[in-house]
Symmetry: C2
Subunit: 132 residues, 2 copies
């Protein structure tokens, strides 16, 4: 199990990406729009993991609701596992609750989310990258 | 630059550490009390970085204030650099504001914090581990 990324809700992902790129001294940034989740993402590649900035693409986006309620800031953490099906089964055996089933994420990943009430208020993504 | 840890504010670090250990399937956990910062910390070692759970040790602790205002949840992210003095100087040149000077952290580290208003609401620790 390792940290895959830290996700941050922002109002304007292009402008925020410039600020983060300059602040962190990182050139390696990609943009991706995930219509099914209602977000546009800037992926900032650090040496061992990523920082992801997320802007809502519509008013129904959960990120829009988060921004309206809490403002910009830390949104969730994401943990990478080689075996997401096995981990979900193991965690459910420990009483951990999930938000939805395992589903396709960006770039060939499989993802699901642990309910914040199972981890003391922390929304936690579990993800699995395609092999090879 | 890499992700060093994700820090989470909790009410009871012993109980939370048990939950996180079981949920993440991690045995490697250390506890440390940092009186100068008013926190007791559980350090959960993942493969590439750490999750740190923080409980206030007194009513003046900034973590106590955070919990009273926002409840348990994500508190800050920490980035590891080999050259904290150089990074702070470079970042100040970009207009990034800091909360206090570089100071000793736990286990021989040097730390400082980037003001959340410089990174769209995200309190960000910069840290540097002792060499060798």
């Amino acid at each position: 199990m390792k940290i895959d990324h830290i996700a941050i809700a922002v109002n304007d992902v292009e402008e925020s990406a410039k600020v983060y790129q300059q602040a962190l001294g990182v050139d390696n940034v990609e943009f991706e729009t995930i219509e099914s989740e209602g977000v546009k993402v800037a992926i900032i590649h650090l040496d061992n993991a990523r920082v992801e900035l997320m802007q809502p693409t519509n008013d129904e986006s959960p990120i829009k609701k988060f921004l309206d309620k809490k403002g910009q800031g830390l949104h969730h953490m994401a943990l990478d596992t080689n075996n997401i099906e096995g981990e979900v089964e193991r965690m459910e055996g420990c009483g951990i609750q999930f938000l939805g089933k395992i589903r396709p994420g960006s770039a060939g990943t499989k993802v699901t989310f642990i309910h914040p009430k199972s981890l003391h208020g922390v929304l936690t993504e579990l993800c699995s990258h395609p092999k090879g």
